[in-house]
Structure formats: C-alpha cells, structure tokens
C-alpha cells in the first residue's frame, strides 16, 4: 500500500475533518451519559494536529502516527486523549515505513491491546473498544474498505443498548442503556474517514 506524502496529508485532514464536523453530535451524545465534553475535546485535539501540517506529513508514516498520538495526548484532555493518543502512538511504533496489509493488521492488534491496557478495559463495557475490536476482526479477515466502514458504523450503533461499565457513564448504571457511547461514535467516524481515504488513495 502506498502511503506517500500526499496520501498522508489527506489522511490527516480526513481524520481531523471527521472530528471537527461531528463535534456537536459527539458532545450531545456525551451530554446524555458523560460529562458533555467529548466533541469539544476531540475537536481541540485534531485542530492541534491540523496546525502541525504540512510538516507533519513530511514525516514517514510511523513517525507521523506517533506525532499525532502525542498531540492528542497533550491536547484532547479527558480520558479520550490518552486512549485515542495511545492508539496512534502504538500504531506508529508497530508499523514499518512501507507496510503491507498484514503489517497494518499486526500493528493495529498491538495498538488495540495498548488501548485495553491504558483503560484497563475489554470489549463489552460500552467503550471505543466495542468498535475497535469487531472492526479489527473484519479487517484481519480480509474485509474491504466498505465492509470495515459498515462494521464501524454498526458497532457504534450496537453500543446503544449496552450497560456502561467503564468511564463516566458507568456512574449512571442502567441509565446508560439506550444511548450510543460517544467514544465508540468518534472511533467509528475516525475509522470511516481513514478507510475512505486509504481506499481511494492507497488501495486498502
């Protein structure tokens, strides 16, 4: 898969735009079952990432991902900063400069494990892992961009009837049921933006 400079810059812009354009939606999801800052936090983090372009895209893919992760850790705030930031940093650490699809699958596995460790959580607790884990299963099984994007959207929807066990929503107990998890929604949006760019530009 070709990840030249142009593709890298488009990828960063697509990720950032997906968070900036959906900030209000993410915030209203978070107002229902969290502390109402998820959209604002993710927007702030990705605006900070955008501000590091175009130099950011000069870096090779692994270095670029690590830099994105560090910016998110420092700028997002809330629990999402370390969780999403860790995903990008670990992905960068595990990825070679010219990755094959198999390399990307292996690196994503490691990044998801790091998110689990950071949040001391597993899938099934109404967190972003409820999107990352099932999407990774489709990706690892050879699913194409459309299948990955569809699973990301459906997996976020599937968090709606779930009971929150980790994070602020867990304070609500059964009242967390019936609302989509904001972190799952932002993860699905980021995945959708990433695969749309990579499919078009790099032949995922």
């Amino acid at each position: 898969m070709s990840l030249n400079r142009e593709v890298r810059e488009k990828l960063v812009r697509a990720l950032a735009v997906s968070m900036i354009e959906h900030a209000d939606e993410l915030t209203s999801l978070d107002q229902a079952i969290g502390d109402g800052d998820h959209g604002l936090n993710m927007k702030r983090g990705f605006e900070a990432v955008l501000a590091t372009l175009p130099a950011l895209a000069d870096k090779p893919m692994p270095e670029m991902l690590k830099a994105i992760g560090m910016t998110l850790v420092m700028k997002v705030g809330g629990a999402s900063g370390p969780l999403v930031g860790t995903f990008f940093m670990e992905l960068g650490k595990a990825l070679p400069e010219e990755p094959t699809r198999a390399d990307l699958v292996a690196a994503t596995d490691k990044a998801i494990d790091a998110v689990k460790a950071r949040g001391r959580s597993e899938a099934g607790q109404k967190t972003l892992l409820d999107v990352l884990v099932p999407v990774q299963a489709i990706f690892a099984a050879g699913g194409d961009a459309a299948a990955i994007a569809a699973e990301a959207a459906e997996a976020a929807e599937r968090t709606t009837p779930m009971l929150a066990i980790r994070g602020r929503a867990s304070f609500l107990g059964e009242r967390s049921i019936g609302h989509m998890d904001p972190g799952s929604r932002s993860a699905s949006l980021l995945i959708g933006a990433a695969v749309a760019t990579l499919e078009f530009e790099a032949g995922l």
Binding site: R44, M74, G77, R168
Partner: protein
C-alpha cells in the same frame, strides 16, 4: 500550583476542577504546613473542566522529591491522564510516582500527613488507599 521542598514524599492533586484541586491543596497545607512538597492541577488545556497531561507533568515537577510523588485524582479522566503522565517521565522517576486509588480530598490530606512524618512512598500510598479498603 504550589511549592515547598523537603525529603518527604511529594503530593500532587489532580481534579477536573482547578478550584477543587486548589481547595484540597489549601486543606493539605493547613494540616502539614510546608513539610511536604505539594502541587495541584485542574482543568482541560483551555481552562474548562477536565484534566490535562501537560499540567500533571508540571505538577509532578513542582512536587518532585527523591522520596517519590503520590498523585491523588478525582474522576476517571484524571486517573487516565495521570497514568499517561507517569509513563512519560524518565525511567528512574517513573518508578517513584504512584497514582493512588483514593478519594481526592481525604486521600490528599491523609497522604500528606503520612508523608510529613517521613514515611516511604509505599506507606503514603497505603494510608491514602485505606479509604477504599
């Protein structure tokens, strides 16, 4: 923020609210005076409610002691951001910083009181965590 220096274990207070963090620090100071290195941080990177890694790293630096630093946190994001900050420390410092599983106000006061008597980091953490034991 706050100040002081000694060989005692340092205390860092991390709350989503700067006012809570500062108020808890005031209560600690009333108990132990300047016998314990102390720092607080609260708020997201723009000053709203939340926590941020850069602020926590700065607070650890201010409260640094060779005996180590105990961090007291309020809600989940404060804990996650604190753990992230600890991982970003140099290796020799990382082993001497703990995030306590304790209520932020009571934990900070009891941890500081324990520290002011010259207790080890392990003893300070244990005292704070007795609230949830």
């Amino acid at each position: 923020m706050s100040n002081s220096s000694s060989g005692n274990v340092g205390i860092v207070i991390v709350s989503h609210s700067a006012k809570i963090a500062e108020g808890a620090a005031d209560m600690v100071r009333q108990m132990v005076g300047n016998a314990v290195p102390l720092a607080w941080t609260g708020g997201d990177p723009e000053g709203g409610l939340g926590t941020n890694v850069a602020g926590i790293l700065e607070a650890i630096e201010i409260a640094w002691s060779p005996a180590g630093v105990a961090i007291l946190v309020d809600l989940g994001g404060a804990e996650t951001n604190s753990e992230m900050a600890v991982e970003m420390l140099t290796e020799d410092r990382r082993a001497r910083v703990v995030v306590c599983n304790a209520p932020v106000v009571e934990g900070a006061v009891i941890a500081a009181t324990e520290s002011s008597g010259g207790s080890s980091l392990t003893a300070v953490q244990r005292s704070a965590e007795e609230f949830y034991a």
